[in-house]
Symmetry: C2
Subunit: 213 residues, 2 copies
């Protein structure tokens, strides 16, 4: 803590005490943000943290495991932001739409991190990282819970909640991915599409009962 700042070049402390796993993960996140997923190398992370190239293997089985941890952290952050958006905006229809906005905003603000989560770098089917599946399911559950609340007060259709949630997920995921990919006209292309999607989705999933009103 109170050591000289550039101790990384001259490792006068033989051991990296404290939470090395956490330090490696933070450095990986910073590198991914700055240089993208493909720019991430284990050697550079070690060097940046001020540790040998192989020290990382004490905390992660391999590069995939590190990326898996990065993805896991992403799903956790995403869930927290979704729940916060829902809670802070009245937990009603407006809150649901705010949550959708928060989803797209997370992806657009952290494009490389989002790609680690959904770009095929980690396999959610794989049982080797149970935490990943748990966190991914948790983020999805935030959507399901909100939708179930709207169903209870009769403002959206009474379809299978999980299936409807998957549909809403696909919409925000699609909007976010196209935005990240640069497939939408700049500037404001994502926001414009997100606003239009919100509108169309409202028509699409509103309950038949409340439609004519």
């Amino acid at each position: 803590m109170a050591r000289p700042a550039r101790a990384a070049t001259k490792p006068n402390r033989p051991y990296h005490h404290g939470n090395l796993r956490r330090a490696l993960l933070d450095e990986a996140l910073a590198t991914i943000r700055a240089e993208g997923v493909t720019g991430l190398t284990l050697r550079e992370i070690g060097a940046r943290v001020g540790v040998s190239r192989t020290a990382l293997y004490r905390h992660f089985a391999d590069k995939r495991a590190l990326l898996s941890a990065v993805a896991t952290e992403g799903f956790r952050t995403l869930r927290l932001q979704l729940v916060a958006a829902w809670d802070e905006s009245g937990r009603g229809r407006a809150g649901f739409e705010t949550m959708g906005g928060a989803y797209v905003r997370f992806a657009v603000a952290n494009p490389s991190h989002y790609r680690v989560m959904f770009g095929g770098f980690v396999d959610p089917e794989q049982a080797c990282e149970p935490e990943l599946a748990t966190e991914a399911a948790g983020a999805f559950q935030a959507l399901v819970d909100a939708l179930a609340a709207l169903q209870r007060d009769g403002s959206v259709r009474g379809d299978d909640t999980a299936l409807m949630a998957r549909f809403v997920w696909a919409v925000v995921h699609g909007v976010a991915m196209l935005g990240i990919d640069g497939q939408l006209p700049q500037p404001g292309g994502v926001e414009e599409l997100a606003a239009y999607a919100r509108e169309r989705l409202r028509t699409g999933i509103t309950s038949d009962a409340s439609q004519p009103a």
Copy 2:
């Protein structure tokens, strides 16, 4: 053509005459299909085609350029399949939904190829590959054209056609991506979601005039 099959190991012909670019591209596609994008190496492609490791640089500036060509080819194939689906199914509302199904089917049938197109491996903004942008725009145009036809006969809303097309694109893209990623319950998860999305989309973009009918 009429040469011994495994000439690749012993290059008795000093030069690879014919369309080497085409051969390299085909081999890249096959490798991507079999081993994914990350499993693609230039050295292996050269070896498989029976050519030196550096021969590839005569036809592609670097690995990115090769992937860009792969993506370009993907957009072209996608456009052809979309147009075929639209043409062969009456060019009406049913045809539009068939087209959506064809989109998801292409992605699910060629997941790795689809990832090269949308996984951030190539940059559509970059002007270095004008063909890529052209083909991507062409595939999108197939969607716009179909939607415009539906608008003309009054069966969908009269909103900005390009914006509505982007929305529909986001939906099918989102469904396809979640399916490819293994985020949907197997088996039949993609088909179930695609069917539900089709239904909800119908409600969402139908014109107000034809809604009560």
